[in-house]
């Protein structure tokens, strides 16, 4: 496989059953595409976490862990960026805003969406026309410079 991040968009589509563990298939595919695009190792690790968390969210919440319901992962290589969309069947609606991270007591879960928001450059939660939920994420090959680094350069 050769991926040229400067040419017209190319896409990969993967369908997963809603069974925990299959998120690793999407994680592996995202890693392979990002490696071919030339992403750095730490950005690839960030991407892998974002993809697995979004898939787990789709499996557990969007599809209510119904193994017959499908999670669809789209990886789109565009100019200098990788777009990842993860869609479920919407058996349960996802909140349109990122919930407050972590839950006190209990099992200390609820960090998934927070991690995604910290790992990628852009993130959007959408309700699809067919009723499903979709998490759309974009990670840039060269992350935007922060205000601090621009000031240091000037």
């Amino acid at each position: 496989m050769t991926v040229n991040p400067t040419r017209a968009p190319e896409s990969v589509e993967i369908s997963l059953p809603s069974t925990p563990g299959y998120e690793k298939v999407a994680r592996g595919a995202a890693e392979a595409v990002a490696e071919e695009m030339g992403f750095s190792r730490d950005r690839i690790e960030d991407l892998k976490t974002a993809v697995s968390e979004a898939c787990m969210n789709a499996i557990e919440h969007g599809n209510q862990s119904n193994s017959q319901a499908v999670v669809t992962v789209y990886l789109t290589v565009a100019k200098e960026q990788l777009e990842v969309r993860i869609a479920d069947e919407g058996l349960s609606a996802m909140p349109s805003e990122i919930p407050k991270p972590g839950r006190l007591g209990g099992d200390n879960r609820g960090w998934g969406m927070f991690f995604i928001s910290q790992m990628v450059d852009e993130m959007q939660i959408e309700r699809l026309p067919d009723g499903g939920n979709q998490v759309k994420m974009i990670i840039y090959l060269h992350p935007p410079k922060t205000a601090d680094s621009s000031a240091a350069r000037d």
Binding site: T19, D42, S52, E53, G102, R109, W111
Partner: protein
Amino acid sequence: MAKGDVLHRQDGTLGVLDFPRDVTMQTRETAYNAYNELARAKIKTLAFNFDQTDYMNSAGIGLVISLVEDATQAGRRVFAFGLAPHYRKLFNMVGLMERLALAQDENEVKAKSAEPAKET
């Protein structure tokens, strides 16, 4: 699909939890069984061994938070070793780095656990 149990070992008052390759929701039961065995053995120091771990999701990190909370409340010192840089970053994001001490390996845990605990 996730595989792997958490195993436990004891060396004096040090208890070690050996985590598998995948640390997820499915790890929870064997992690608590292993931790409870060590707690019954009245360990004073708990170490998390992540040498074999290459995938830890938010549910797995939530599990680590719960174990650290329990161990800390019981007055145990908590260490982790073998943690990959990416997971150090995630541990930092959830505040775990303030609640456990990192070590390079088990030998360093043994050396550090022999030192008096620092006041926080």
